[in-house]
Symmetry: C2
Amino acid sequence: MTEAHERKKQPEIVRRALLDCAAQISQEQGLPAVTLQAVADAAHVTKGGLLHHFPNKQALVQAVFHDLLEQLDAQIDELLEDDPDAHGRFTRAYIRAFANADSQGASNWNALPLSSLTDPEMKAMWSDWYASRLARHAETDAGPELGIARYAADGLWLAGLLEYSGVEATGQDVLIEQLISMTRKT
Amino acid sequence: MTEAHERKKQPEIVRRALLDCAAQISQEQGLPAVTLQAVADAAHVTKGGLLHHFPNKQALVQAVFHDLLEQLDAQIDELLEDDPDAHGRFTRAYIRAFANADSQGASNWNALPLSSLTDPEMKAMWSDWYASRLARHAETDAGPELGIARYAADGLWLAGLLEYSGVEATGQDVLIEQLISMTRKT
DNA sequence: CAAAACAAACCGACCATCTGGTATGTTTAC
DNA sequence: GTAAACATACCAGATGGTCGGTTTGTTTTG
């Protein structure tokens, strides 16, 4: 993204740029548009340079996915800290994280996770993350009501991608708050 | 799919075969595997023959999507008839339809709808269908609780695709019944 | 009713383009 | 000076799509 030029030979910066550019292309034009050439061009590197950082395309895409997962993980941790209520704490953070990912423009959290269903390894990545996270919060976030709330958050996020983007955004905040209230102890 | 051979020059059958084969390939190997050649081979037609029925690949994929939408629509209508309770009738049918699409093997209802987020036209197809259907059942299926139930159904369906397929299928039926109960009048 | 005329259904070869990937060279950092 | 960080050149394969032609079905005509 940012002109990672001028400064010479800074592999970590280049690597970051590659990840960011790949994520952006994926969200703006869909995963099929994420070609080695396109990513390399966007990051002001040649295809050879790209393939120096990632041995093949699969590795690149998976790295992007892993990166997004880490961002999500971090954001959830952040939200967890600001929540005094114990019961359903993780579920609330989960809901809010996906709500942000949906509405805010800063989200690279679109096409990739969906299209990743094709790739078994990425499927496993998500499954593992979700399972481990759920295990960690078993004491506060078990129970079917909370599970439904999380599923609804997924559905809401999915719906956000399907809308004409913009239309009928009204009422979404209300729905999210209603989901949050579902996580409170009855 | 079926040997649409022997019987000569039956365009409607060939067209159906092409749609079915494309749908099957898409669900078994993901949408990127849906190539003109692959679909044509599977339907025992040449690429030229395929392109006689569909002017280009986009038209083919959109036709498949349209077809799946019609199937969903029909199944929902079926479920609607067997439901004596008025309030939340559509929402229950929606939930059950997606639950079936998820668990049953007969579902071609996987990769395509997801990957279709790339294509604006298919996005619109879904949006339009959903909006019109919602308008038709405005009197029985308005209200945020029912909306949440539907969103949760979406999320549940999505989760079904992400699982290792098989593991933890337990409890899913319970969750669905819980969703159904959410649609009853309070 | 048969044959000609037309149109639809389908085939097979071909092509321009793009894709991921390799192999090899050149530059920079330590 | 040596190893990492890149660039350049190149390729083999696949993909979507076009085009001319052939087969099959339908309609028209005498």
